[in-house]
């Protein structure tokens, strides 16, 4: 019975709860028990049985437990952003995104692990230890929303929210075999979302299917007086229903051909393009000439903004303070030295350097111009295409520790996701198939990224939904057969997944 409950999509569960066929109580308890079995180090905090706002509100998400990345402030509940410097911090208020989910009837299931201050692509930068990939525990779940992706992929939550600055929702969603959506910059309020790079940060859903992503987005989006950059999505968001792609034009950037994509990932990408054509979509090659400079621009702009945003962690108003310091400056310096991890220090240094006197124009000034060119490239592509498509990540999930000694190699994971972030446009990653990692081993999920013009979320969700129905990835899900025991070290095929269920 419990297993059957956990296999329901969020949309199906809301229907059954609304119809009175399923008690929100029973559903919530089943998920709290599932979350309690976390062996992936994916949760940093979990709500206790009966403690979470039971008997809660009606609404489109009534009775749905949601896992929330630990970057969102939750009143009275520890919020660390994966950092030692915020250990024990209990915010006095709740982030607008989380509050809106609550108003739609959802309940907080737990807070999920993440790369410190959302800086990372593997979750290995968390001060609270790495999250494990539900498909193979020796591999990373991606990052920075690795915990949110792992709980949904591993059957420990029905849905989650995360944040995406340069790919931090889409890449972990791809590596964990789930759906991840980064909405248009401004679609969802950033109020109460601990800031990393304010001109890029955006909240979004991580779900098992596209319909669930639409459900969450519908509740999350909207203007918020507390975030003047939030504008919401005009007309709202409806559940997608489109079954074909006829008349839609998909653009494939020609620059893809030159880059280091794993052969298995490339094969799944090609298969997915073929499916688009089967569904009536048209595929063209186009050029995004400046996208190859995305990583360069991003790793100037994001660290620059981060160096300013993270200046607030100084041991004065909240968070940890280093003991035994002499004067005020010494207290600042030792607090930050002890509180921040290596990657955060690296980015603060990089950003401070890029903004420092004599280098500002060469780095920050130029990077913002490159950003304009990247946005222009997309605008040109969208003048005669509906979508731009790429693999979400150049590789499937890599091994823990494989890239920790080479920051630049780690940054290259963001190659396909960073350009959309810089352009502020929405993009979704949907699971498209399985591929063997380079060097062999059990097959792992591959994500397919679809990007659309600003605020075209509805069209994006419709196309992703049609494609999702054709791909039928659901049969491969580790959670579909055994939510409590994701496959470890054994080859998993679609047939096996079905047999388990």
């Amino acid at each position: 019975m419990t297993r059957e409950l956990l296999e329901l999509s969020v949309a199906a569960a809301t229907h059954r709860i609304a119809a009175g066929d399923l008690s929100a109580e029973e559903y919530g308890t089943a998920w709290r028990q599932a979350a309690a079995g976390d062996e992936l180090n994916a949760y940093l905090w979990r709500g206790e049985d009966g403690a979470a706002n039971d008997g809660a509100a009606a609404g489109p998400l009534a009775g749905i437990p949601v896992a929330v990345k630990d970057i969102f402030c939750t009143e009275g509940i520890e919020t660390t952003a994966g950092s030692r410097i915020l250990e024990g911090y209990r915010p006095p208020y709740t982030a607008t995104a989380v509050r809106r989910l609550g108003e739609a009837g959802a309940r907080l299931l737990g807070k999920t692990n993440m790369d410190e201050f959302a800086m990372g692509s593997s979750n290995e930068n968390s001060a609270y230890g790495p999250v494990r990939n539900p498909w193979d525990r020796e591999r990373v779940p991606g990052g920075s929303s690795g915990g949110s992706a792992a709980v949904v992929g591993g059957g420990l939550a029905p849905c989650a929210i995360g944040t995406d600055t340069g790919g931090s929702i889409r890449q972990p969603a791809a590596l964990c075999g789930i759906v991840g959506l980064k909405p248009t910059y401004g679609a969802i309020s950033r109020y109460g979302m601990i800031a990393f790079a304010s001109s890029l940060d955006q909240c979004g859903p991580l779900t098992r299917d596209v319909t669930d992503a639409a459900l969450l987005l519908a509740a999350l989006q909207g203007r918020d007086p507390c975030d003047s950059t939030s504008v919401g999505i005009e007309g709202g968001v409806e559940p997608p229903s489109r079954e074909d792609l006829s008349g839609l034009r998909f653009a494939v950037p020609s620059e893809l051909a030159h880059d280091a994509i794993e052969p298995g990932v490339r094969a799944v990408f090609e298969q997915t393009l073929a499916r688009i054509e089967e569904l009536g979509g048209e595929i063209d090659e186009i050029s995004l000439p400046h996208s190859e400079h995305g990583i360069s621009a991003y790793y100037v702009i994001a660290p620059a903004e981060a160096s300013a945003n993270l200046a607030r962690y100084d041991g004065v108003r909240y968070g940890r303070r280093a003991g035994g310091a002499g004067d005020l400056i010494e207290m600042y310096e030792t607090t930050r030295a002890e509180g921040f991890g290596d990657e955060v220090k690296r980015r603060i240094m990089l950003g401070t350097y890029a903004l420092s006197s004599g280098y500002y124009e060469a780095y920050y000034g130029r990077a913002q111009k490159v950003r304009t060119k990247i946005a222009d490239d997309f605008r040109a592509a969208f003048s005669n295409h509906d979508f731009v498509v790429t693999p979400t990540s150049p590789s499937v999930a890599f091994r823990l520790g494989e890239k920790t000694d080479d920051p630049l190699a780690m940054y290259m994971n963001d190659f396909f996701t960073v350009p959309m972030s810089l352009a502020g446009i929405p993009a979704i990653s949907i699971p498209a198939g399985l591929a063997e990692p380079q060097g062999g081993g059990p097959a792992l999920p591959v994500g397919f990224q679809i990007a659309a013009p600003a605020f075209a979320e509805q069209r994006l969700l419709e196309a992703a939904y049609a494609l999702e129905q054709a791909i039928e990835f659901g049969a491969h899900r580790p959670g579909s057969g055994a939510p409590f025991a994701p496959p470890v070290g054994k080859k998993r095929t679609g047939a096996e997944g079905r047999a388990d269920g």
Partner: protein
């Protein structure tokens, strides 16, 4: 290329105390990253306007009305060293030896 001395200077600006080992490693890592970033130096960007905001937005004004703010006690709850209704910090001046 970024020299060790520059790393020391930037760390000071960023209020980060780095160990000797961290300084050495940081110089190498930052140089590697900047070498990649330097490719944007080759682009012709003379007539390009820098991005200031990614989506087209019109400035929206709101009435400037006073609203209640957070109570002082609430804001002090998370402070590492609250005292007498304020945030206490070490003296900004180094103690004389």
């Amino acid at each position: 290329m970024i020299e060790r001395e520059q790393v020391v200077h930037v760390a000071k600006l960023a209020r980060l105390r780095l160990s000797e080992r961290e300084l050495e490693r940081m110089a190498g890592e930052l140089s590697g990253i900047l070498e990649h970033v330097d490719r944007i130096a080759e682009l012709d960007l003379d007539d390009v306007a820098p991005t200031s905001h990614v989506v087209e937005l019109q400035n929206v004004l709101r009435p400037d009305e006073p609203r209640p703010s957070w109570p002082r006690e609430t804001m002090l709850e998370a402070a590492p060293d609250p005292a007498e209704g304020a945030f206490r910090v070490p003296s900004p001046q180094a103690e004389a030896e």
